[in-house]
């Protein structure tokens, strides 16, 4: 079970949220001009890193707002949350090595 920090409600149990995949995927402005391969990249392909991952979460059972989370996909450690439009929190090398927040 993860504790996720909602930027508005504070730290809450994971079961109040759902995760909706990688954040910052920008919809192309010119879909008509894209090849099938380029469109397929946008719709289906994600970076899928082993490491830090910026992802979209929504606090469905709480304030129902969307925001972003930085999570390590291997250790499952959540390094922080940020509102849409805000920069992602920096994660230091030390924090990564120590396996702690």
């Amino acid at each position: 079970m993860l504790l996720i920090e909602c930027p508005w409600c504070g730290e809450r149990d994971q079961t109040e949220f759902t995760c909706h995949g990688e954040a910052h995927i920008v919809r192309p402005k010119n879909p008509d001009e894209l090849t099938d391969e380029q469109w397929g990249d946008y719709v289906f392909f994600r970076s899928n890193p082993k490491g830090l991952h910026k992802e979209r979460w929504v606090h469905d059972h709480g304030c129902r707002r969307w925001f972003n989370v930085v999570r390590h996909t291997h250790t499952d450690i959540v390094y922080g949350s940020y509102k849409p439009g805000e920069p992602a929190p920096e994660v230091s090398e030390e924090a990564l090595k120590g396996g702690k927040k």
Partner: protein, 190 residues
């Protein structure tokens, strides 16, 4: 032609907790209105205050009770207003008139939700059995409101006093489920 409406509740006829440490009452047919708008728009805030008589709570997880209305923070641009039975009609009209031309939304959701009051010395334990929210007074106190879950139901819960008493708002279709869950959860506390 029948011109009177008989209101029914999904909680009609359900058993109450048997013991004396948990009490459960429906707040029947409470008026409920959802308000959305931009809290950075001073015009929006002052027009709403003219109607409600109280400032919209801008601090997350708080509510204000004043006069005929209890106004709950739901999200950074959303509030849930409770008022007496049938008070929602005049409230919706007044808010819509006051907010004419201002980007906002006012919706009567009175029949979409049911509110029940859970109180008594063991009320906190009953809540802790089914919800991930921390109900310890260091985290959740009188004057606070939050969205969370109870078992499989999405709820809005506000604490009224230190008895403790809580108002729990749930979707109409989940009301019977939640009520019976509370009654069952209360059984061990007598």
């Amino acid at each position: 032609m029948a011109n009177h409406i008989v209101k029914v509740s999904p909680l009609d006829g359900l058993a109450k907790p048997a013991g004396s440490n948990v009490s459960l009452e429906e707040r029947r047919f409470l008026g409920k209105v959802t308000l959305r708008g931009n809290p950075e728009n001073k015009d929006f805030l002052s027009k709403v205050k003219d109607v409600l008589g109280v400032d919209l709570p801008l601090t997350p997880l708080t509510y204000v009770a004043g006069g005929a209305y209890t106004v709950h923070w739901v999200g950074p641009d959303e509030w849930m207003i409770h008022t007496q039975e049938d008070g929602e009609h005049a409230l919706v009209l007044a808010l819509r008139e006051a907010l004419e031309g201002i980007h906002s939304q006012v919706v009567d959701v009175s029949d979409y939700y049911v509110v029940m009051r859970l109180s008594g010395p063991a009320a906190r334990e009953v809540l802790a059995k089914g919800s991930p929210l921390d109900f310890h007074p260091r985290a959740f106190r009188a004057g606070m409101v939050s969205g969370t879950r109870y078992a499989n139901a999405t709820i809005q819960i506000s604490q009224l006093d230190d008895q403790p008493s809580y108002d729990v708002q749930v979707r109409w279709s989940f009301a019977e489920y939640l009520w019976n869950y509370f009654v069952e959860a209360a059984r061990e506390f007598g």
